[in-house]
């Protein structure tokens, strides 16, 4: 049973954590693609700046002497999400809306979003330097060690408090998003516009409002993903810039424009990454007793070496683009 617990620690928990972050980021990208029809690269910077908003707020609250049972980063998350949504609206108004008004091609908007990426990243580095920051300077990161000796394991099940909260928060926000998209008037309008923008407009949907709501939802979710990633690891200026391609991979695997597909794609990529670098010898070691001398398992038996972990997402991306460019949920065609 020790092997099973080890497998859960190494693959299930880390895969779920990574998958949640990818899923939240990919939902925003896929919504923007569905409504505005361009690949929004600056999403990574929305995530990073959201994390920095949360970090500043948490530091502010801590300086006021606020003590909460859960990490402060989660307490200030709603305020940071509002700030990120405003930032997203501002970026759209300042940089993308003028280009859209001119009738620029989606490709030009993509390049503009890269410009925005560079600007926001430059600003963040200007103010915070290139070093890394931690949410847990003053608080302690609680680590739960669940004793599993009842099922005959010698190792405990290990999960940290932020990881547990992260999974709970993601489930709640995905459910909320589901009800928003299927039950509310605005959510239905968004889906209609993603399906056919012209038809939505002639049937009386306020497309300008839908665009604004899309940016608000995408900005808030990006802030959530960025903050939770920063709570799990550390906060640095290139926090989300490094994982933007895996997030795009998640959105494409799920089918660009499909919100549920993005969640499935995110979890798929997250689990695939942790499964690919998993050392199978740790689980299969009992087999050594029955295997003959010449077939003993090597010390490490992973599908790919650990340093290629991020590459797994790129390989999945390329394979999906070749084999099924519309993604598993039939998104926008290539």
């Amino acid at each position: 049973m020790t092997e099973l617990v080890f497998f859960i620690n190494q693959v299930v928990i880390s895969g779920a954590v990574l998958g949640c972050i990818y899923a939240l980021g990919a939902v925003g990208i896929t919504l923007i693609f569905g409504i505005l029809r361009f690949a929004h690269f600056a999403h990574s910077e929305l995530m990073t700046s959201g994390a920095f908003f949360a970090f500043l707020l948490a530091a502010l609250f801590a300086s006021w002497g606020v003590v909460t049972p859960i990490p402060l980063g989660f307490v200030v998350l709603p305020i940071a999400m509002v700030m990120s949504a405003i930032l997203a609206l501002g970026i759209d108004k300042g940089f993308y809306a003028p280009l859209r008004k001119r009738g620029a091609k989606p490709v030009i908007l993509l390049i503009a979003s890269i410009g925005v990426t560079l600007m926001v990243q430059g600003l963040i580095r200007l103010f915070f330097g290139a070093g890394s920051w931690s949410f847990f300077e003053t608080e302690t990161k609680e680590i739960f060690r669940i004793d599993t000796s009842a099922i005959g394991s010698t190792r405990p099940l290990v999960i940290t408090e932020p990881q547990l909260l992260m999974i709970v928060v993601t489930i709640i926000s995905v459910l909320a998003l589901h009800f928003f998209l299927t039950r509310s008037r605005l959510g239905k309008a968004m889906r209609a516009m993603a399906d056919n923008a012209d038809l939505a407009q002639v049937s009386g949907i306020n497309t300008a409002l839908v665009v604004r709501v899309t940016w608000i939802v995408a900005g808030a979710l990006a802030c959530m993903a960025g903050t939770m990633l920063a709570l799990d690891v550390t906060l640095k200026p290139d926090l989300a810039f490094n994982i933007i391609i895996p997030i795009f991979a998640a959105a494409i695997v799920g089918g660009l424009g499909q919100a549920y597909g993005a969640i499935a794609g995110g979890l798929l990529i997250g689990f695939a990454e942790s499964l690919a670098v998993f050392n199978w010898t740790m689980v299969l070691r009992p087999l050594n007793a029955i295997l003959p001398e010449w077939m003993q398992l090597p010390a490490t038996l992973a599908l790919v070496p650990t340093e290629y972990k991020l590459t797994v997402a790129f390989v999945i991306l390329v394979v999906v683009l070749l084999v099924r460019p519309t993604g598993i949920f039939k998104g926008a065609s290539s």
Partner: protein, 427 residues
């Protein structure tokens, strides 16, 4: 149009003189050599995006391939590797690779044996997996052996110019494979796919320590022209030997650049260039006129990548060090895109102008930001707010912001670039 270009180039010349005045000749001369290499890379992107409308965001990968190629070709031979069992073990890994490739090709053709539908997919996936296992089982011990006994493979000791050419060839081969698999995709998918592929190339080159020495870096890589030390040995003083050596390298780089511009300008003006522009502007119409759109796009993707490979090789030769971890998407992909957008896509002189201008802006914005910060710092100290901390590291980050600002302003106010493409309308 001609007058506008001449004015802009004259302005650029004045800018170079001003930078030379403030930053000194050694700084300016090495920036100019780099600018020549970047011009070549920008011309490569100009072929792909300006002539052919292809969205390549994987420039970093091709620059790394060029850098690796020149390192491998021109670095001195490593006898510790050639005298050991390393070559033999690598040969076995190569045979394993070939066997795996045969297996995969066989699986793809398995429908001739009557294996169809889901079974064929299963057989193909299985073949890929088995091939991967065979290759890894041979390569891993070879890599570990070489790293333990010889450090890394070393070079071949050829002339650096041969290395530049090899960089072009290597980039062409990889571009052919990448183009084969990715060029059928629509623009934004192609952008994301090429970024993904360039990240795969980066991960491979960075982690294949037995071949590239990875993060340990390889240096010094020889120059194609005499080094400053050679002139110094000949009796010249410090400054003049530095300038002579860099001048020699610059002349060689300019010669390569001149040949490239001459060739691609001729291609642009000829029937081939007209066909390319037709495909870029309306690929459906050109396909209906009997042009093989896929093959032509693959062709132009390969041509552009060759220039990128050569340019990347030149950069590595000049800095004399190959450091895979110094390659970043911002410095090596997005920077080139800014050059093309600002200079003018589809116009070779625009690409060269953009490359030189943006490269100078990129390298000058750091010292300039430092001056501004120093000024602001003394001012804020003066009124009692205290000095600005960490000016050094902050001003280093300024150039990323400046780059983003330049690209957004250019897209908003000069979407066709400073020297736009000349559209000739013959009657």
């Amino acid at each position: 149009m001609i007058r506008r270009s001449l004015t802009l180039f004259a302005g650029l010349f004045v800018l170079i003189l001003v930078i030379g005045w403030f930053m000194g000749l050694p700084f300016t001369s090495s920036r100019l050599v780099e600018a020549a290499a970047y011009s070549l890379i920008a011309l490569g992107l100009n072929i792909q995006w300006g002539y052919g409308g292809l969205f390549n965001f994987g420039i970093m990968g091709f620059l790394m391939l060029g850098g690796f190629a020149v390192t491998f070709m021109s670095y001195p031979v490593n006898p510790a590797f050639w005298d050991s069992d390393g070559p033999w073990m690598l040969g076995r890994a190569l045979i394993a690779f070939a066997a795996g490739a045969l297996l995969v090709i066989g699986a793809r053709k398995s429908d001739r044996l009557g294996i169809r539908g889901g079974w064929k997919t299963f057989v193909t996936v299985l073949a890929w997996f088995v091939a991967y296992c065979i290759y890894r089982s041979q390569l891993d011990p070879a890599a570990a052996y070489i790293e333990a006994n010889a450090g890394f493979v070393g070079g071949l000791g050829a002339h650096p110019v041969v290395g530049w050419l090899f960089g072009g060839v290597l980039a062409a081969v990889i571009a052919f494979i990448v183009g084969k698999i990715a060029l059928g995709l629509r623009t934004d998918y192609l952008a994301i796919a090429t970024i993904g592929i360039s990240e795969i190339i980066r991960a491979l080159i960075k982690n294949m320590d037995w071949l590239t020495r990875g993060t340990l870096t390889v240096s010094p890589i020889p120059w194609p022209t005499p080094l400053p030390q050679d002139y110094q040995a000949g009796g010249s003083d410090m400054v003049s030997s530095l300038l002579l050596a860099r001048g020699g390298f610059l002349l060689l780089a300019l010669a390569v650049l001149g040949i490239a511009i001459w060739l691609i300008s001729r291609a642009y003006a000829g029937p081939w260039g007209r066909m390319m522009r037709a495909i870029r502007d309306n690929h459906i119409a050109s396909a209906s006129m009997g042009k093989n759109v896929t093959a032509r796009q693959l062709e132009i993707f390969v041509f552009g990548s060759v220039l990128m490979g050569i340019g990347g090789a030149m950069l590595v030769s000049f800095t004399q060090i190959f450091d895979p971890s110094s390659y970043q998407p911002i410095n090596h992909t997005f920077l080139i895109w800014v050059m093309i957008i600002v200079g003018g896509a589809g116009n070779n002189w625009g690409a060269v102008f953009g490359a030189v201008l943006i490269w100078l802006v990129w390298v000058v914005s750091e010292p300039l930001a430092k001056v501004i910060f120093d000024f602001a710092s003394t001012w804020s100290t003066h009124i009692g707010w205290g000095a600005i901390p960490d000016i050094e590291s902050r001003s280093a980050q300024m150039r990323v912001f400046v780059l983003g600002l330049v690209i957004t302003i250019a897209l908003r106010f000069a979407p066709k670039g400073l020297i736009p493409e000349v559209v000739r309308r013959d009657a």
